[in-house]
């Protein structure tokens, strides 16, 4: 029940795991979009092994999640900044940032793949929020 006191920030193995997440994102851009899914998995595992509610798990892992979200935000910002700085470069051409390289079919391919991850993250977030909301009256 004292989940928030059990773990408030990333230490030891959690710090190592966050470092590995950051390094994977720096190795290849596509690993960055796995970060939210891995953080959600982390949260689920914490709840599973500690028998906490979603709310308690969120509070207990707030430091770790904050660092993970910061890593994700920083990596995404770096990737987008690099892409936008060179829209005519190799990566910009691949994703069709210029009208000359824009290909609706290619964008359709991207839309059919990338939003799948976004949809999963969105559904998972709604599920976590819903379960947290459902559990509130029971505790009261």
């Amino acid at each position: 029940m004292n989940a928030a006191r059990r773990e408030s920030g990333p230490t030891g193995p959690a710090a190592l795991a966050l470092t590995c997440l950051a390094l994977a994102g720096l190795a290849k851009e596509s690993f960055v979009i796995l970060v939210p899914a891995l953080l959600l998995f982390w949260l689920t595992c914490h709840r599973w092994f500690h028998g906490d509610s979603w709310g308690h798990a969120l509070r207990a892992l707030r430091g770790t999640l904050a660092v993970g979200i910061s890593i994700f935000s920083l990596h995404i910002a770096l990737v987008l900044a690099t892409l936008m700085a060179l829209p005519a470069g190799y990566s910009g051409s691949m994703v069709g940032l210029l009208s000359a390289s824009f290909d609706p079919k290619h964008w359709l391919d991207l839309v059919s793949v990338v939003p799948l991850t976004v949809r999963i993250a969105l559904v998972a977030t709604i599920a976590v929020a819903g379960l947290t909301w459902i559990e509130q009256p029971r505790r009261r």
Partner: protein, 163 residues
Amino acid sequence: MDRTVLPSVDVIASRPHQSVSPSRREGVAAFLLIATAFLLLFGSVLDAEFYVVEDHILFRRGPTAFGDWWTRVVQDVQAYGRFRPGYQAYVVLGFALLGPHPHLWHAAVLLCGSATCWFLYAALRTLGADVVSTAVFVLLVLLTGTQHWIWINLIPAETSGML
């Protein structure tokens, strides 16, 4: 249904579950088996030379290791619009450690793949999966699909990223 007989899913999920790390003996045995599987499946690459199309980028050296790393990061951004400092560190450190020896590079990549699969095995066992399920899962990751090329090629960023 009588809820006193069968606990609800919520009650089951709210119970603390035991995290059990595999023993040292099991861990060593698992690593040896995984390494053996890598050698049996991909061991022939140990005799291979460098692949002429892409492996040349491993050997573009600068004045110092750090200088070469930063030069590569900047060139990656300028030439390809990609920001991959971690991957460039893998290339620079790899050359510093292994030099222009293809057999060492191939051995290191096989070792990297073995370590990745071992970490996956240890993580699944710690989460409570049984040995057979974990072994099947690791084998599926190792063998199925087209992703297994990352275990035998020297260039992909996915090899170090997965590790």
